[in-house]
């Protein structure tokens, strides 16, 4: 059965999405356990795959039994094996944490909600696992379409935010598809490995170069790289808490993975990084993203909105690191995909627990939170330290690689932007610690202050949060293994 694991990885969430959405009409009580069980199963499969890849090398799975350029293949290699594990772990932890939210917000539509949740996940898993450039687009459609729906039923102006996201997302996906069309015109094939074999013969092809630019532009829209980030803050901060914890950690990160995949194994590093002017321009775009994301985050007065601008800055980290085009930079970008997914998940789970108890995530309502919700705040603090980049949390190590990459490339602007953003993050989070820990707490009646009363979120919220927070430290401690046993083996020979 092991040889069929790459197929199972996506069949399990897909089939359970169908069953769960059907169960919503028959007996709603089965929906949630079924969804959790399927995600746990898929997570187990992905861990098995990662172990297999580390022991025996990449796996190629031929869908429908056709050999690669004829049919579609799934390729599990050193690059995507860890990303798959992280995606499924994020989805599972967030689903458990969001249980109370789903029961409250979507009681009579639980089947549909969980069905969309699982379909979104199968889209994300498929994007990461596929070895076919067009199949990536098909799965992108699934991931986007379900994402719009998951966001659309949120608070305040969520439908409008979702509509904006839909317009931008559709434009991005269309650009990617157009790029694939250009690749097909130039090479006549859609299989990623096959395109990579043909690219060296087409060194000077204008069509292929335009294909690279169009694909990347499409992915930049989907990952919300500054200045194409306009849709992200509203969409993520107005989304229902249950969806925000799924979509915020996954969508942008998976799109960055797609950028790395397309850049490294479709176009090959020799072609992707062949034009210093292009790489330089994109790195400067990333620097702008980091600086403006950090500054805009400073201006926010709500936790979830602040996090969305931190995401905008983090996208800049990874895009910049990748387009430095050297070993440390690409390693840092890839490592940061994993770390940032875990960090964003922890932050959004913490804010979802806070909103569950306080009904708000405005800064002025956070007073006394360390006393009220100590366990949630432990998770929050660890996530904050990781985002700032303090060892031994994982955020430190990926930032270290990124800065090393910047120094090796002589790109001092990028190094400065990273340091600046770390400082701003420190300001952002210590400001919140100050409000939540030190500011006078004025809920008690009269002049006598009793201090905050212990009022923690339910255990189904706190337990996944603490697991995610501990994983941030674990990821940090095992950085060496992740880099030497997986990521560095994934980098093609062309990267110095």
């Amino acid at each position: 059965m092991t040889q069929h694991f790459p197929a199972l990885l996506i069949i399990i969430p897909l089939l359970s999405a169908l069953l769960v959405s059907a169960m919503g009409w028959i007996d709603r009580r089965w929906c949630f356990p079924l969804a959790v069980a399927s995600l746990a199963g898929a997570l187990a499969v992905s861990i098995g795959l990662a172990a297999h890849v580390m022991a025996a090398g990449p796996i190629v799975y031929k869908m429908a039994g056709w050999r690669p350029p004829i049919g579609i293949v799934y390729v599990i290699d050193y690059l995507n094996a860890p990303v798959l594990v992280v995606i499924l772990a994020v989805a599972l932890l967030n689903l458990i944490s969001a249980k109370v939210w789903i029961e409250k917000d979507f009681e009579d539509k639980m089947g549909a909600y969980l069905g969309l949740y699982l379909l979104f996940l199968s889209g994300m898993v498929g994007i990461v696992a596929t070895g076919d450039a067009f199949n990536l687009y098909v799965l992108l459609e699934i991931g986007s379409l379900t994402g719009y729906a998951l966001i659309g039923l949120g608070k305040e102006r969520a439908p409008l935010s979702s509509l904006n996201y839909l317009f931008m997302g559709t434009i991005g996906a269309s650009f990617y598809l157009l790029g694939i069309g250009y690749i097909y015109i130039a090479t006549g094939t859609l299989n990623m490995a096959d395109i990579a074999l043909l690219v060296p013969q087409l060194e000077g092809s204008g069509t292929l170069f335009l294909a690279l630019i169009i694909c990347m532009a499409g992915l930049f829209v989907k990952m919300a790289l500054f200045p194409l980030h306009g849709w992200l803050p509203n969409a993520y901060s107005n989304a229902p808490s249950a969806s925000a914890g799924l979509i915020a950690p996954l969508t942008t990160k998976v799109m960055i993975y797609a950028m790395v995949r397309v850049g490294l194994t479709v176009f090959t590093p020799a072609f992707t990084f062949a034009r210093p002017l292009l790489s330089e321009a994109i790195v400067w775009l990333a620097i702008a993203a980091i600086v403006s994301g950090s500054l805009l985050a400073l201006m926010q007065r709500r936790l979830s909105r602040m996090f969305t601008y931190i995401i905008v800055a983090e996208v800049g980290y990874m895009v910049g690191g990748f387009w430095l085009g050297n070993k440390a930079g690409v390693t840092g970008a890839t490592l940061h995909i994993i770390n940032d997914a875990a960090m964003t998940l922890t932050l959004f789970m913490a804010v979802s627990a806070i909103i569950w108890k306080l009904g708000s995530d405005k800064f002025e309502d956070l007073q006394g939170l360390f006393g009220k919700m100590p366990f949630t705040m432990i998770g929050f603090v660890i996530a904050a330290l990781a985002v700032i980049g303090i060892p031994p949390t994982c955020g430190f190590f990926s930032k270290w690689y990124l800065i090393t990459g910047g120094i090796n490339a002589g790109q001092w602007g990028f190094v400065a932007a990273l340091l600046f953003s770390s400082l701003v993050n420190a300001v952002l989070f210590f400001r919140i610690f100050e409000i939540a820990f030190f500011e006078p707490f004025a809920e008690g009646h009269g002049h006598h202050d009793h201090g905050p009363v212990f009022n923690e979120a339910p255990v189904t919220m706190v337990a996944p949060l603490l697991i995610a927070a501990l994983s941030l430290i674990a990821l940090g401690l095992y950085t060496g293994d992740i880099v030497t046993k997986l990521i560095q083996l994934a980098l093609p020979a062309g990267i110095a």
Binding site: S21, W25, M63, I72, G188
Partner: protein
């Protein structure tokens, strides 16, 4: 801002149009797209899958995995429309129109008013945009709908040989139902094909597709490798591929039909499933 956007659009469009000059000529037999993979499909398609229509063999077999997800996209769209639009409402939340049949008097019942019984023989529910004397439309549709449906089944079953297949056939089936809903009224269509049935048919259609793939897996072959079904169907492996294509096309037809009807119910009545177009 609008000006900047305009410049960006013009520049991008100009670049794309300018570059078309570097493309191979239209129909160029020596372009990569025509020399690399396409010859394989054209030369071996029929031998591999026993489907003379090469589009079908690529769509449902060589790249059948893509098509499974295209079907899933359709299903996801239906699910998303339901999730975002559907609003449960009690009778009496909105004004309603009734005709008292013996006298021919039309009654307008406001919110919260007493409604006649659902199966009353004396009162008949009217849509608020009721148009009298639609007898020609009703009867024309009554005659046309069975033919549309038979043609739809032909399109589904004949996808191997001629243009067609599950997507097109499913759309035709759905269109026949939507025609019924338009020519009569939405409530009657929903009574014939309830929302629950539409939703379950939608997931069942995709389940037929994915389930066929899983069955291949259980027989020891790769996902969606229909050859594995040969012992089950009692035919040669190549014929098994042909039959496999038919099975998944039927799944697609189910999913597309049910989902389009489901989307129509939700869109035309703004999620209330009461008065439609």
């Amino acid at each position: 801002m609008k000006f900047l956007a305009m410049i960006a659009v013009v520049l991008t469009g100009g670049l794309l149009i300018f570059h078309t000059g570097a493309f191979p000529d239209f129909g160029d037999a020596n372009s990569p797209a025509n020399t690399y993979l396409s010859p394989y499909y054209l030369e071996n398609g029929q031998a591999d899958t026993h489907a003379p229509n090469v589009v079908t063999s690529v769509l449902a077999d060589y790249r059948g995995y893509d098509t499974m997800f295209e079907t899933t996209v359709v299903f996801a769209a239906g699910l998303a429309c339901f999730f975002l639009l559907r609003r449960k409402q009690k009778p009496g939340d909105t004004p309603r129109m009734y005709r008292h049949l013996p006298t021919g008097v039309t009654l307008h019942i406001k919110e919260g008013g007493t409604l006649p019984a659902e199966d009353s023989a004396v009162f008949r529910r009217l849509d608020s945009e009721f148009v009298p004397h639609q007898i020609i439309i009703k009867n024309t549709c009554r005659i046309v709908i069975p033919f549309i449906q038979i043609f739809a089944l032909y399109v589904v079953a004949h996808g191997h040989y001629s243009p067609g297949g599950g997507f097109q056939g499913g759309v035709l089936l759905a269109a026949s139902f939507i025609l019924y809903a338009i020519s009569h009224d939405l409530r009657r269509a929903i009574r014939r094909f309830p929302e629950k049935v539409a939703a379950l048919f939608g997931s069942m259609g995709v389940l037929i597709y994915a389930g066929t793939g899983v069955l291949c897996l259980l027989f020891g072959a790769n996902f969606l490798n229909y050859e594995a079904l040969a012992p089950l169907l009692g035919v040669s492996p190549v014929m098994a591929r042909s039959h496999g294509i038919l099975i998944v096309e039927i799944g697609v037809a189910f999913a597309v039909m049910a989902v389009i009807i489901w989307i129509y119910y939700n869109l035309s009545s703004a999620g209330k499933h009461d008065e439609g177009l």
